[in-house]
Assembly symmetry: C2
Homo-oligomer: 425 residues x 2
């Protein structure tokens, strides 16, 4: 590594060194954060909320610059909306920080403990993970949400947002860091990595030993790239190819209500329904009715039946995240479970049925983070589950599965106390 001045363009090695240096500073900050009392952390969250409100004008001005650039480069309106901050949204960001302050502190919780027959006292406590890397796309509110949740759980965070939100994120992180410094807390608890170069992502996810976990939030492409190339442990989030299975015993009024809610409430979210599976036993009545209801609500229905948009393999496998849904007729519960086994992403799978044996079998056999019985897939959400806030929805089986709140941002530590105990040979 040769020294570079700030006037020079960063070489690849210099970029890696920058990320590693940020991670090293984050580790130092994390050691301090791990020991903070709940009161100190909550004070910091309220101070950060105050600072966000006090700096609203500057934050909105930075956001306007991001928006102008995005508009000039032809960004579609839905993405502009995700990027846009308004006075109301800034209020919401500050309120989110206060909400996290109101939640119980997950750190230090006694998870297990006993006195062993030899008199050793063992206790398992929740401790912070350490340094958390977040990789995410346009919404600037994620910047502050991630800060709030990681700070409350005693972690330092390295943020790698999208370049389209670079000015908004820089303004927000600047405010958060100043708020921490004003309370004599380490500003390096939150750092924004450069979004100019994709290589920042690579260096972050390969900073093993410096970063304890990376959480990618975004599209399937981002998540699979991170998971493939990371050496740091990752938590896969948010790809949801969710199914609604209408069992032979379903109340079709209920099925229609749940299906429409699951598909049309918000089409761009990971818990939206992407495929409806209709039991052959009720297909004659259910298919025309549900196709009509979907069409009436502006949804294009893809499938192998006459009158539908012809389906390819991708229709079954991918998330549409749009006003589209795939529809298949399946020959009973076994076939529904087999279809979900093949195409599901392990996020949320729903059954509509009045038969108890069917709902029990579906719940037991479907392999997913969440199974909905006579309820919309839209309920898979940290706030809906009562966690108060959510850092993402895990679709992997290790560490956390489903909505992740503060507890999922902790690890554990065993403390063993003796009075000179040695272990027999």
């Amino acid at each position: 590594m040769t020294a570079t001045t700030s006037a020079e363009v960063s070489t690849p090695d210099a970029l890696e060194a920058d990320v590693h240096a940020a991670a090293a500073r984050a580790r130092v900050a994390a050691r301090a954060l791990a020991l903070l009392t709940t009161a100190r952390k909550d004070d910091a969250l309220h101070a950060a909320a105050d600072a966000v409100l006090a700096s609203a004008d500057a934050i909105l001005a930075a956001n306007s610059e991001d928006l102008a650039l995005a508009e000039a480069s032809g960004t579609p309106p839905s993405q502009l909306d995700r990027l846009r901050l308004t006075p109301d949204r800034v209020d919401g960001i500050a309120a989110g920080l206060r909400q996290v302050a109101s939640l119980p502190d997950p750190v230090g919780e006694l998870l297990e403990g006993r006195t062993l027959p030899n008199g050793l006292e063992i206790r398992q406590l929740a401790v912070p993970l350490g340094v958390v890397g977040m990789i995410y796309e346009a919404r600037p509110n994620v910047t502050v949400d991630a800060f709030g949740l990681t700070l409350k759980s005693g972690n330092a965070v390295l943020l790698r947002g999208s370049s389209s939100a670079a000015r908004s994120n820089a303004a927000l992180v600047g405010v958060l860091r100043a708020a921490l410094s004003a309370l004599d807390l380490p500003a390096d608890a939150v750092q924004l990595l450069s979004s100019e170069d994709r290589a920042t992502v690579t260096h972050l996810i390969r900073a093993r030993g410096l970063v304890d976990v990376v959480i990618p939030r975004g599209g399937a492409g981002l998540i699979s790239a991170v998971v493939r190339d990371a050496t740091v442990p990752t938590i896969e989030t948010g790809v949801g190819n969710c199914h609604v299975y209408v069992h032979a015993s379903a109340d079709l009024d209920m099925a229609e209500r749940i299906l429409l809610n699951a598909k049309t409430r918000r089409v761009s979210v990971c818990n939206a329904a992407e495929t409806v599976l209709i039991d052959a036993a009720v297909a004659d009545v259910a298919v025309p009715r549900l196709v009509q209801a979907l069409s009436d609500n502006g949804v294009r229905v893809h499938g192998d039946l006459p009158g539908l948009v012809p389906a390819t393999e991708n229709d079954w496998a991918d998330e549409y995240l749009s006003d589209d849904i795939a529809l298949a007729v399946v020959d009973g519960l076994d076939a529904a479970v087999a279809h979900i086994d093949r195409y599901g992403t392990g996020h949320t799978e729903a059954i509509v049925a009045s038969d108890l044996a069917a709902t029990r079998a579906f719940s037991a056999r479907v392999d997913a983070a969440a199974v909905m019985v006579n309820a919309s897939t839209a309920f898979t959400d940290g706030e809906q589950f009562g966690f108060g806030a959510e850092i993402g929805i895990s679709t992997q089986k290790l560490h956390a599965r489903g909505p992740m709140g503060l507890r999922e941002l902790t690890s554990t530590k065993w403390i063993v106390q003796g009075d000179g105990h040695i272990r027999p040979a």
Copy 2:
């Protein structure tokens, strides 16, 4: 992929296809295992124990072949001992299976649950991980231990043992598979991958979507290679550069007893002490005494002090796993924690002290799976902790940290029950 007959040498692609086919069979088996009652699983474990005993002669004969080959190729005696099975050890293997049968079933445990304000009932249940890959070194008993623990937790297992134990492992797995088949359970719950080619490991750790987790057990080289190249989530295990810190307030009799136990009880295990840190405040008395005690017990002491084997950076960073220890004098608790932060592997760190503030500070600040206060590092062990059995000791922070028992071989699933609930916009 071109078809190959069994007479042809496997091409790299064919080897990958073999591993993937085994994983696909394991997934089918895992779906069935996930639904078994505890009684069925326990019956299978007892049947497997009976079968191991009934086939003891064949197992010992296969092991003799492995031993003869290993001896002929100049394997050192300590490794031969790890490979060797005896009638007593076969009895121990069978007893281990019965022990696992006696443990509570982790699957189906209700971890959390509540009724939400809207009337939705949410429950979080423990469920199997699915397909577990185990990569391990010589000891053939690990083959059966891993089978027992994964079966009890409802998982299928893909075993990749060392080539030196290939015949022993094949004999054991053959016995286990036959025992399952005799009970109409899927034999593919346990499969032995070929140990002839190192590429099997690569294919296993990159079979994302087919394998749910890989647990490497072995030396630091194996574990870091697996962690670096894996796309399947992994649990890092067992590298323990453990420290014993002798605080200024330590009872030196106790310190000596704990240090000797932690270093000399068994030098090849991950919870053995590799460095002793002595507080400068008591160095004058403690250093000569502890060096003498170590030397008297056949331990070579490395360090920067006169009379010790001169230390290099590796002495502080690496596990000896031998009759060696590094010794450093540190300037108080801060310096001890800083040394451990720099060189520790997050396994087990011990303090010997009578001062309560010192033990509290050390416990809170050291970042490790286990902290021992006035107790030997040797206690970090699933059986010692009362788990009944252990699949490994995790040194990572995600999913599991410290000794892993049956519970750590499970994931979770949310079951949400409503009566037509939809989520408001």
